[in-house]
């Protein structure tokens, strides 16, 4: 019944004008895993995420999410919208709405029949699950710190109890302690809620502490994908620089 492959991408090609971002890109994400996606600036990590989400139609290739094909057909993204949550880089919270209202937006959109009080309770639950206190609920995004905004964004991404979570640099702009706490929160929640997580990051600490597998993007395709210790030894100059630079050594020391 349920496929064990959460996301399957085959032969993906993305192009902006003459600039080819991805070509013949293949990737599979297994159900329930946390996949870290790394790559240099401009290698198209965010473009890949936007392609999977159907926010940008690719020039070629096939994308399937839990066996549902994502393409330009009307309605092909409905399943995806209902079953996935996205945390954008700075949270992308709606600035004119309170945290509580932000979390209620997807509930309102997908379950318009829910009673007001039930919707309120469910939103509050998500706010508590991401570790925010109830006092944060009536605040506007501008009144929150960066870390709290991230958590509020995560609460909104989790509002529909998705099976699939997309995160775009969740720890960027957080201090190391806040970032570590956020990593821990992600690990706990993804385990408890049974999430499959597609995580774009630059943060080596995040990779070492919570990712099950790592995919490296470069040269328009996935250079390598696998558990960290395999990817680390992959013979490619960028991968070697990335995993064996001074920062990587420090991050590894922290976890072992």
């Amino acid at each position: 019944m349920v496929s064990e492959i959460a996301i399957s991408i085959a032969g993906l090609k993305n192009q902006f004008g003459l600039q080819v971002v991805h070509e013949h890109l293949d990737l599979e994400v297994a159900r329930g895993e946390i996949l870290g996606v790394v790559g240099g600036s401009g290698t198209g990590k965010s473009v890949l995420m936007r392609a999977i989400l159907g926010l940008r139609p690719p020039q070629a290739g096939r994308i399937e999410v839990f066996g549902h094909r994502v393409d330009e057909r009307a309605g092909s993204r409905d399943w995806l919208r209902r079953h996935s949550g996205v945390l954008f880089q700075d949270g992308a919270l709606f600035s004119s709405l309170t945290v509580q209202e932000n979390v209620e937006v997807p509930l309102k959109a997908h379950f318009p029949d829910l009673s007001h009080s039930l919707r309120r309770e469910l939103a509050l639950l998500k706010i508590r699950l991401v570790g925010l206190s109830d006092e944060a609920a009536p605040k506007l995004p501008a009144e929150l710190s960066g870390g709290m905004r991230k958590r509020a964004g995560l609460a909104r991404a989790l509002a529909l109890d998705p099976e699939l979570l997309f995160l775009d640099e969740p720890t960027a702009g957080l201090d190391p302690i806040g970032a570590a706490a956020f990593d821990q929160l992600l690990a706990t929640l993804s385990k408890a809620l049974g999430l499959t997580v597609f995580l774009i990051t630059h943060d080596l600490d995040t990779l070492y502490s919570i990712c099950d597998r790592v995919a490296v993007i470069g040269e328009g395709r996935i250079l390598t994908v696998g558990p960290l210790d395999e990817v680390e030894t992959f013979d490619h100059p960028w991968v070697q620089d990335y995993f064996h630079g001074p920062r990587a050594r420090a991050a590894r020391k922290g976890t072992t």
Binding site: L114, L122, L125, L140, D161, A192, L193
Partner: protein
């Protein structure tokens, strides 16, 4: 396909409730209603029949356990669901801060009035402070022509003055025509149609020329100032200016203030001319007053004083529009919504202040007999 959630009491053990099916957010409204109906002494919850459960379903389960005064750990669960239910239970018991008590309506009503008044007071203080700040900056850079933001000032003179000229002229012309018609309707009964000329010239020289211009600029220019500065503020550009050792008042406020101080009187004169032309056109075409008669009547009745009484208000209006527009821009805090709110506030304040000042001035000049 989602399976219908089932809540049933075990026929053999009346105290044991069996839960099964899918406890997911798609079913939550229906589920909640049934959970709420569950009554009677319940000794045990058997949730091993639940196929799928998500955070919303787990939340209902936790709520149910709380209502039945059972411990969450006493619910019988499939092993794979245990982690989720425990996480939700932890989040729920975290801190149940009670709902904040809402103030009674009358207190909020009077509170709102009080806030309005204190806000108005502090706003007036801020505006006066801002005026002082701008004047001080003006005096400070006056002896140093190299620091004058000449290019920016000329840019704003074009934006707020030259580009507004066609609109100001057209609207004044039309209002002039309307006033002529209005005057003629009343004065015709007395056979004194010639006095339409006095009406138009008096109205436009003393009041309408400068007032119409100021109201138009309040809508057109004050809003632009607030939006420009507000957007810069929300993108931290103002802070960047400060950290570079520059003065945002000199860089942003003075060019706008000076541009308006120069251009508003010019526009006001154009509005006076256009308004009188509008009156002249109506007089010639439909009131039967020839142009020569109109002009000689103007010459007879109008002294320079009327013109000055009108024009003397122009710099005052320019200050109000420029300062309120800029100050509201500096008050923007972060969000896109805030830019919108401050822009509205700037326009409302400018128009109100312009009309209030005009009324006070009219009273003053009448009393001193000008």
């Amino acid at each position: 396909m989602p399976e219908t959630p089932v809540i049933e009491t075990d026929s053999e053990h009346p105290g044991c409730v069996r839960l099964s099916g899918d406890w997911i957010v798609d079913r939550i409204a229906d589920l909640q209603a049934r959970v709420d109906q569950l009554r009677g002494p319940v000794e045990a919850l058997d949730a091993r029949g639940i196929e799928r459960i998500d955070a919303a379903g787990a939340w209902l389960l936790v709520r149910l356990a709380q209502r039945l005064e059972m411990d969450v750990s006493a619910i019988e669960l499939e092993g794979e669901h245990r982690a989720l239910v425990d996480t939700v239970a932890r989040a729920e018991q975290h801190e149940q801060v009670g709902d904040t008590v809402r103030e009674p309506g009358w207190r909020r009503f009077f509170g709102a009035i009080g806030k309005l008044i204190t806000d108005g007071g502090s706003h007036f203080v801020k505006l006066s402070g801002f005026l002082g700040l701008s004047l001080a900056a003006l005096v400070r850079i006056a002896p140093r022509p190299r620091q004058w933001p000449v290019t920016a000032t000329i840019h704003h003179m074009q934006q707020t003055g030259l580009n507004a000229l066609p609109l100001v002229a057209l609207l004044s012309f039309l209002v002039g025509a309307v006033v002529a018609f209005l005057g003629a309707t009343v004065l015709r009964d007395f056979g004194a149609e010639l006095f339409v000329v006095d009406l138009i010239t008096f109205a436009f020289l003393r009041e309408f020329g400068v007032l119409l211009t100021a109201i138009l600029l309040a809508g057109r220019t004050a809003s632009a100032f607030t939006a420009q500065i507000g957007t810069m503020k929300s993108r931290e550009e103002i802070d960047a200016i400060r950290t570079l050792g520059l003065d945002p008042v000199v860089l942003l406020v003075l060019p706008r203030l000076v541009a308006l101080l120069i251009m508003l009187p010019v526009l006001a004169v154009a509005a006076m001319v256009a308004g009188m032309l509008g009156g002249l056109t109506v007089s010639v075409t439909s009131l039967g007053i020839p142009a020569e008669l109109f002009l000689s009547r103007v010459e007879e009745t109008i002294t320079l004083r009327h013109y000055l009484v009108g024009l003397i208000k122009a710099p005052l209006f320019a200050m109000v529009i420029a300062l309120v527009g800029c100050l509201e821009g500096f008050k923007v805090a972060g969000t896109a919504q805030s830019v919108g709110e401050r822009t509205t506030s700037a326009v409302v304040q400018c128009i109100s202040l312009v009309i209030i000042i005009d009324a006070l001035a009219a009273l003053f000049f009448m009393e001193i007999g000008w």
